[in-house]
């Protein structure tokens, strides 16, 4: 079942879709920098970025009519983009520790 986007929603749909990926990357960027530098404002910016992503996902949920089975896609995006950078960060720390690698 498919309910195509309406003409009036074209621009906002394209725009919000692009913003999802960009803010997803910004969230990852600020999150990683925060853990590297421990500057509080970076952590704050990370959550602002994720908030923008969250809103953008909600917008395309509306305009693309992502209901019923499409809810899976919405949840996959909200959870996936939130957790992936965190998981990768822990992996970075763990893989580098394993080698006993000390940076000088």
């Amino acid at each position: 079942m498919l309910q195509p986007v309406e003409l009036k929603d074209f621009f906002i749909t394209f725009f919000a879709s692009g913003i999802i990926i960009v803010s997803g990357a910004l969230y990852a960027l600020f999150y990683a920098f925060y853990h590297l530098k421990k500057i509080a404002v970076l952590n704050y910016l990370a959550y602002v970025s994720y908030f923008v992503l969250f809103i953008s996902v909600l917008i395309i949920t509306q305009t693309m009519h992502l209901d019923k089975i499409w809810t899976i896609v919405v949840i996959a995006m909200l959870v996936g983009y939130f957790l992936a950078p965190r998981g990768i960060w822990h992996l970075c720390v763990a893989t580098h520790k394993e080698k006993g690698y000390e940076q000088k």
Partner: protein, 201 residues
Amino acid sequence: MNKNKIWWSSEQFWKKTAIWVTALMFVILIFLSFDTINKITVGSNRVPSYSVINKQISYKFDTKRNFQVPVISEQDSPLFGKKLTEEQAEKLVTHGKKIVQGRNCMNCHTLLGNGAYYAPDLTKAWLDKAWGDEKYREQLMINFLMEPEKNARTFGSGRKMPNLNISKQEAQAIIAFLKWMSSIDTNGFPYNFNAISQGEK
């Protein structure tokens, strides 16, 4: 240096994960492919048999599926007034498709939306309103394919199809292929299409 064994960050763990994930996804893809190929063989609901060119094809909005679908009528409307057997139809459509490949149509046009974007999509070319009336459609299509530069309707774009030395017989085969292709259920692509028999919307 205790930490040597965090299992989820070890090389071995990710090596195995990479192999298993790839294998799993590939198996799912194979499984879905078998199912899909079954559903798109010629003669299925989605891709009708070649003898569909003996029938009248039109286009209708399906409220349950929420998009337009091709409708094949019961009554005969044979292409070029000649009813073909399944075998003859297959031969004609096959010839048409091979001409479409040999003339490299796909690097100007799109078929099912794939190809180049220099010229219109051909998925529903048979049903296009540009042919005016169904009565003259076959003849107009033959004229156009044989002498595109004279019969071009560029709508002010200046773009004309070049003359590709298409004979009458070849033109008929191409048209058979186009008619058959227009009967494929493409999940409502191209969107909002207004077919020749549908009247103004």
